[in-house]
């Protein structure tokens, strides 16, 4: 069945819900579940382009650093250039896209493997963020901005979730139903073959890395609204969280396979897992262990599911 992996993921999510509800009666409260999602928004948003990047057999290790840099840039533009915070946020997102585009150029024009380029920019962007902010955070954002990041619609549904939902839906449509999405898959399976079938390989890859940067920038804005501050050490290790969610969601690190729905389920599984464990007062360290184990079990099962004859299954 085409949806085999996603069905398994859904089952896992249900399982998580069941187990977590036993661990704490707070878990199943709607208010808790929705609040938990607030913390997942940035990862969820970045997981969308990351999925596509990984489907092309590439990777973007610079997203968290990009997020931090965009967040700092937004703070600086707002504070020291006196520009409206919302506009500053958008400008910073565009700068984030630019950072992603730099990745894109190095990868497509110079043919440097993505892991190497984004490893370097991961360090560079984080470093620049730290340097510019002198290690100090920027705070004092206007109320409306903070309200966006910390408040909820009807007191229940966090505002930022809507952005995530929209982006995820658009991403899903693009990847699984559009011509561009076909190109992404073709490149992931066989870049050379794709080229010979007229796929504009370089252009597609460039767009993907730029989008990844854009989403990182946008997430930076949402992050700062949520925390109420711009910090250069925002989301340390975040890139690996995003990648974990995407891989958990069934996207193959070697390319050619994956979808947004799966990645989103991956984000949800990790989010609710952590949330439930938090409520059960299980320390962060153990949470980390559990997430790691879940990831291992997932990838082992994925390889067991193996190659099918028809796209939908046997």
């Amino acid at each position: 069945m085409k949806l085999r992996k996603e069905l398994v993921l859904l089952l896992v999510l249900v399982l998580v819900f069941v187990v977590m509800s036993f661990l704490s009666k707070e878990f199943l409260r709607v208010s808790n579940l929705l609040e938990a999602l607030r913390y997942a928004v940035e990862i969820g948003i970045m997981a969308v382009p990351m999925t596509m990047v990984i489907v092309t057999a590439g990777i973007d290790l610079s997203v968290a650093s990009n997020l931090a840099l965009s967040s700092i840039l937004m703070g600086i533009i707002w504070k020291y250039m006196g520009i409206n915070i919302w506009i500053a946020g958008i400008m910073a997102s565009i700068l984030g896209a630019g950072a992603g585009a730099l990745n894109g150029i190095l990868i497509t024009k110079l043919n440097i493997p993505p892991i190497v380029v984004t490893l370097a920019t991961m360090a560079a962007y984080r470093g620049i963020a730290t340097g510019l902010s002198r290690g100090r955070g920027i705070t004092g954002f206007p109320e409306s901005f903070q309200n966006f990041g910390q408040g909820s619609l009807g007191g229940l549904v966090p505002y930022s979730i809507f952005i995530w939902i929209v982006i995820a839906i658009i991403g899903h449509i693009i990847l699984s139903k559009s011509k561009f999405g076909r190109y992404v898959f073709a490149i992931g399976h066989n870049e050379v073959g794709a080229l010979y079938s007229t796929v504009p390989v370089a252009r597609v890859k460039f767009i993907l890395y730029t989008l990844s940067g854009l989403m990182a920038g946008l997430s930076g804005m949402i992050y700062s609204a949520r925390i109420g501050a711009s910090k250069s050490n925002a989301f340390m290790g975040g890139e690996l969280e995003v990648i974990t969610a995407v891989v958990l969601g069934g996207t193959s690190i070697t390319g050619g396979e994956g979808n947004i729905l799966g990645s989103t389920l991956g984000v949800l599984i990790i989010t609710f897992l952590k949330n439930g464990l938090n409520l059960a007062r299980i320390p962060h360290s153990i949470q980390s262990v559990i997430v790691g184990i879940v990831l291992v079990i997932a990838i082992i099962s994925y390889t067991k599911l193996g190659v099918k004859t028809f796209k939908e299954g046997k």
Binding site: N111, I112, L119, A124, T130, L240, S285, V291, G292, L295
Partner: protein
């Protein structure tokens, strides 16, 4: 040119040192050199292990966490006055064991090592944080510090140990059949299979070795301090990969030299020290490192354009 990469690195290193010395005389002091060597020694063995893993065509993201587990458990054993020799055995053995687990999962389930070690990184880091409860290991006995502070000809022990082993590795990698197989599977998997080389065995062993070297590094690293922070080793894997890439090893596998990695490590630690001397705030450290890595790989690419067209 046969001298190629290593020569360029050496040149850059020399130029950098000269530059800083001119701007800030006093840079080229024994103290500075010692700091550089010491920082290098700590990273060196892990970087060498990483080199081998990358040459074999894989990536290991777990060494930072493995190092943490080995360092902290060893330190805790030291609190019970376990002799140094046994501590070494413990740390290396544990590291090897954790590396072997990575190897087993990678080979048996045919999953890319990058993902397996991504999970392992989270698991071991989480475990050790839970194990220590976030507390740092303190009040370490004198003999522990002795490892890190004993000097021979004025250089501390870890420097001697790390660099000797590194030099030994240069020799061993050349002479031992196993290491030639590592290059082979990284260079052409299919051909290796045709010639009867077992990719699974080699991959398993190289990941185990990487773990063992991380365990070794753990002691060399931790022995410099009186207290061991619970987050020791964070970010090690990426620094190691950076040093390896700067050193000229190809991330796709099949080529790379230990000599290059040694110079890569030295270059990175020298840059860190240089930044201090040039009064560039430490906040800019990572930015510089990132840009250096970028420059290194860009220059690599510009020199090796020949193959890309043939691949189409």
């Amino acid at each position: 040119m046969k001298l190629g990469r290593e020569f360029t690195l050496l040149l850059v290193l020399v130029v950098l040192i000269a530059f800083v010395q001119i701007v800030h005389p006093g840079f080229l002091s024994f103290r500075t050199i010692h700091v550089i060597l010491e920082n290098s020694a700590v990273m060196l063995l892990s970087a060498i292990g990483t080199t081998l893993v990358i040459i074999s065509g894989q990536i290991d993201l777990s060494i930072g966490s493995v190092l943490a587990v080995c360092a902290i458990t060893s330190a805790q054993l030291a609190l019970h006055n376990v002799p140094l020799a046994l501590l070494f055995l413990w740390s290396i053995g544990l590291g090897a064991g954790l590396g072997a687990i990575n190897g087993l999962v990678t080979v048996l389930f045919k999953v890319p090592a990058m993902i397996v070690t991504l999970a392992a990184m989270a698991i071991w880091r989480g475990f050790i944080l839970w194990w220590t409860g976030g507390y740092w290991v303190t009040d370490l006995p004198d003999y522990w510090k002795a490892l890190g502070s004993t000097r021979i000809f004025n250089f501390t022990l870890p420097i001697w140990i790390a660099f000797s082993i590194a030099v030994l590795m240069i020799f061993l990698v050349r002479k031992i059949r196993f290491f030639r197989y590592v290059y082979a599977i990284g260079s052409n998997r299919k051909a290796a299979k045709l010639l009867g080389i077992s990719e699974g065995k080699v991959t398993f062993l190289v990941l185990t070795l990487n773990g063992a070297l991380a365990g070794f590094s753990a002691l060399l690293s931790a022995s410099r301090f009186f207290i061991i922070p619970s987050n020791i080793g964070t970010g090690l894997e990426l620094s190691a990969i950076a040093a390896v890439v700067i050193g000229g090893t190809n991330i796709m596998g099949g080529r790379g030299k230990i000599e290059g990695t040694i110079l890569g490590v030295l270059l990175m630690t020298t840059i860190s020290s240089s930044l201090v001397f040039l009064h560039i705030e430490s906040v800019w450290d990572d930015a510089f490192k990132g840009m250096i890595i970028l420059l290194a790989i860009i220059s690599d690419v510009l020199r090796a354009r020949r193959k890309s067209e043939a691949r189409l």
